[in-house]
Symmetry: C2
Subunit: 203 residues, 2 copies
Amino acid sequence: MGSIDSKTEEIIFRAARKVFTRKGFDGARMQEIADEAGINKALLHYYFRNKDKLFDRVFRDVVKSTLPQLIGIMNSDMPLFDKIRTFTSTYIDILSGNPEFAGFVFHELSRNPYRLLESLKESGPNLRVLENQIKEAALSGKIEYIPVTHLVVNMMSLIALPFIAQPVIMGMFSMNPEDFDAFIRERKELVPQTIIHSIIKRP
Amino acid sequence: MGSIDSKTEEIIFRAARKVFTRKGFDGARMQEIADEAGINKALLHYYFRNKDKLFDRVFRDVVKSTLPQLIGIMNSDMPLFDKIRTFTSTYIDILSGNPEFAGFVFHELSRNPYRLLESLKESGPNLRVLENQIKEAALSGKIEYIPVTHLVVNMMSLIALPFIAQPVIMGMFSMNPEDFDAFIRERKELVPQTIIHSIIKRP
DNA sequence: GTCTATAAACAGATAGAC
DNA sequence: GTCTATCTGTTTATAGAC
């Protein structure tokens, strides 16, 4: 269940992912997906029954292709600062390759939060690990204590929002696409620095 | 041009803003707006001609009701750290009152970036002021230099993303709506702290 | 100005030939 | 499996009565 068997199915699925992640469920058209796949509209229904089911598969695929990597890093026994750097670098790489993913996931989740429960909790992050690292580092005087919630949200924010706000940023700072790419690359260094500076204990 | 004259027009407009900001252009239905306004569908067209024009008015209204305040703070002659604190506090207050605004604006702008040029550049921010403050503070050894772009994006990110990711955050950390409100209130202190700690010069 | 009724266009889904 | 043709329901938009 949930696997891709035939060649055509694969082509359709990729087309659907492209259109859905760009336009969202409401903005996507079955016709556009068919065009993108170079096949007929009827085939979409032959392979995926209806728009909802096709979307569901796409949404799960997007989540599955990104979350586990990030959760893996979060749950690892890497030292705290390394974890922050690796998480940032990996997350930015993922979103650089798929700039629409962040906006897509957040938008669809506020449209229909139920899906979250399934797709997120299937591979839910274990915050205990990170929480203990923070407490330990705080007790040893290495960092200022910060609740896990805020640390995680701060990282997510600094990493994901620039992609969601890409047109705003490009407009506001008169950037072209190359400028924006460079800007994102700079953030691979800057974001971990920002996070670490904000919690590290001063002498 | 662009002003609201009659009572009914005002009621319709508020209903439209509510529905559009929640569902987005593609997800919004003229019927739902009519229902929300307690009037008939035909009246929407009588007052606003079509869906596109109604949406345009709403989008501009949302931008106009938020951006100028933030730009005003950015362009003021407030000291740098005060500016960071005031900007954060004001922005969070705006979004607390209208949690859908951030997701709405960013989503619609990536759907149709043209609108940005008009709505954003009408009251474009003057980054020179902030840029000079950063340079001055860096030269006087008060802070580590940071490009304006990154400083502004960092603030925007830490403030806006939590609202966009609200369902994710509530799911991930098992929060109820009250928990989330408290979480956001905490950020009014935490975000400026994070930003300032990340740039302030260590002894 | 506000309504009901209806037109016109669109989008998702199915039937049936090949 | 893949196509064309078509149906059904939805959604925007207009006509016209009051």
